[in-house]
Symmetry: C2
Subunit: 404 residues, 2 copies
């Protein structure tokens, strides 16, 4: 029998008091449940006197977010195991884990409430000049060192096995790659957007085919241990550093899914300014910043990934002329294509983003959503023609001239 039970706020305090060495001296702990309550309990526990804090994230047992998705507590194992790997590879670009308790389905981790969730910062129009440098390090190290380029093939296959993550993958398969492309029940649609979807979007058969090809890639390509949900709401940021969190979707999938999640979410923010009451000067300047960031993310990521390859790939791979160039070009196409799916799903499917849903006027919101959908569509259908990130930036600028 399992001793699992969902904690109350006061039990959460008792729980952390039981962890040796976590809080020291005279402590006066306060506990507040701050999760949205759907999937997990999240307790923010602070010591009033020292301003120290910790987070407890506890999985609720067998929740269902929609009828067909029961979620077991096992997802906490994926999160804590993946964070441990990412932590080691990136030298701490993830929250520190103080304790993983399998039976209670919880992790106790670093309190990062002094930082801001990146999505919020972007919505406020804040620039993060170091972000491209930081996220490109995170992406290159986590994606390279968990791939067959570096790992012993047997060790890699054991990792693939350890991270088979059917429940969380199914959520992505349905919400990112299936439901938004037809009139599915799970969708969450702005009524002002509906006519566009019915008349001009759901009948795009080329788009739907290409999205299905990308879904197949998501379901079959065990390339690297990916974060699996690396949108701007999974990144804490300040002007100094980033911390990537919410890693329960981790599994062995296509590396481009992580790179694309970052780019696709920057594109969502880029599109959102169409619906907002800001000056053209601000809008143009901020968008220029976003495109520069996307360009820098890819170019820095590529340079770092190639550097790791030249240094640490299997010797035999280093001797194959042209393979690295080919690999990087395919990774660019995957990133933009998979990122395009991430962009589109946030306009149609379950689980929107505040960048767009913060636009209260539904007609203005629809305009921004349509812009985002056109950008996402281009990412998917034009990906195979790309040879550089600059090609992609050019596509975005062209669509902006017409639509943005």
């Amino acid at each position: 029998m399992s001793n699992y039970r969902p904690l109350t706020e006061s039990e959460a305090v008792e729980y952390v008091k039981g962890i040796k060495g976590l809080f020291t001296g005279n402590i006066d702990l306060k506990s507040k449940e701050i999760g949205d309550g759907n999937l997990n309990l999240v307790f923010h526990i602070t010591d009033e006197s020292s301003e120290q804090g910790v987070i407890i994230k506890q999985a609720l047992d067998h929740v269902r977010i929609v009828e067909s998705w029961p979620l077991t507590k096992e997802r906490v194992r994926f999160e804590s195991s993946a964070i441990a790997i990412q932590d080691k590879l990136t030298d701490g670009m993830v929250p520190e884990i103080y304790k993983y308790d399998e039976e209670m389905a919880l992790v106790v981790m670093e309190d990062l409430s002094h930082m801001v969730v990146m999505r919020k910062g972007l919505i406020e129009g804040i620039k993060y000049p170091r972000f491209a440098e930081q996220i490109s390090t995170f992406l290159s190290k986590t994606l390279f060192y968990t791939s067959d380029l570096y790992l012993d093939p047997k060790e890699k296959k054991e990792k693939v096995k350890e991270f088979i993550n059917p429940e969380l993958c199914e959520i992505t398969e349905d919400l990112v790659f299936t439901d938004p492309y037809f009139d599915a029940e799970s969708n969450d649609i702005n009524p002002e957007l509906l006519p566009y979807l019915e008349e001009k979007f759901w009948n795009k058969s080329e788009l739907r085919k290409e999205v299905t090809i990308l879904k197949e890639k998501f379901m079959t390509k065990a390339q690297s241990l990916i974060h699996g949900d690396l949108h701007t709401g999974s990144i804490f940021i300040d002007q100094e550093e980033i911390k990537v969190f919410d890693t329960e979707f981790a599994f062995y999938g296509p590396s481009g899914f992580d790179v694309g999640a970052v780019i696709g979410n920057l594109i969502l923010n880029y599109a959102s300014w169409t619906g907002k009451d800001v000056t053209d000067e601000f809008k143009n300047d901020y968008r220029e910043y976003l495109l520069e960031t996307i360009k820098d993310i890819w170019n820095k990521f590529e340079a770092k990934f190639r550097e790791l390859w030249d240094k640490d790939a299997h010797e035999v791979l280093k001797t194959v002329a042209g393979y690295q160039d080919n690999y990087m070009e395919r990774l660019l196409k995957d990133s933009i294509g998979l990122g395009g799916c991430k962009t589109m799903r946030r306009c149609i499917g379950l689980a929107h983003v505040e960048d767009l849903d913060g636009i209260e006027d539904l007609s203005k919101r629809a305009k921004a959503q349509i812009f985002a959908l056109k950008l996402g569509e281009a990412m998917v259908t034009q990906r195979e023609n790309l040879t550089s990130i600059e090609d992609f930036i050019e596509i975005v600028k062209n669509i902006t001239r017409k639509e943005g």
Copy 2:
């Protein structure tokens, strides 16, 4: 402690006597070890009076075929689990399994010694007019029904996990996709072939790059539960039926690896006639038969796979216009490309085939090997231009006019 021990011939008799209902009536069992003794013991046990027989295949413990590949007994589990799935899907196109004994690392299975190993039949120039029909059924059913096209995504991922098969995959990764393309120690090279390899083959950088891309596909693309070693030496055949055996390499990999293994091995036989003392009339006629067979295998496979798709794929996939065509075209390219690697490895790497090594004159053998290498190379480097199997047959005929 495990009770595992390698059986002797007489212990093998006692073992099958202990299986209830296997032999009935007055029995007089004879036992003969007929394996090559490197990886497995294979006992052929027959009842003199009734002419009934069974096979025991027992894995040797922790064998090494080369320094870096220790093989555990676990491979028997992959074999028996995969056979069970193939049996159900193909209505008995595999040997019947009477017993799987995990601890003893053995399977007791149907005696198929009244049939011939297909490779031997091809070497003798025998035609099997029903083979294309039979193998296309085996391939379409096993590859379709174990893929994401049909299976529930969660069930498929559990199967991927169950069939993570690092040891046997590593053998293929090294022997099929790596070692033959440079002067590796594991290679087994006809001295008369060596000058060609040194002067004209190992410096082909485009070929080496493309083989590495195919190796990546083998290592990352979890598309279907594949046999993993489906050459003509893994198929028992007579004029009535086929039985596919030696399934210990089974894992979730690219479907084209199985289709390509069959095609690549027919191509090896096709090339071998260059080195043999047969009339031109016989040679041309038999080669025509082989090419027709290859054409029929693909076309029948494609038709059957599409039929299963239209009948049994997930409903949502049936509504995506153009996806099936795209899937089949990629599968053709994968099959020919991966098959090309299977063709080339048999000329250079460890583990040759009798089709070529049966040519005793080393200079004649080299001529046939070079022909096979040119065919294999074209399969790899020209695969992306193929739109039908007829395109491929045309390529083979062109090379034959110049080289064969």
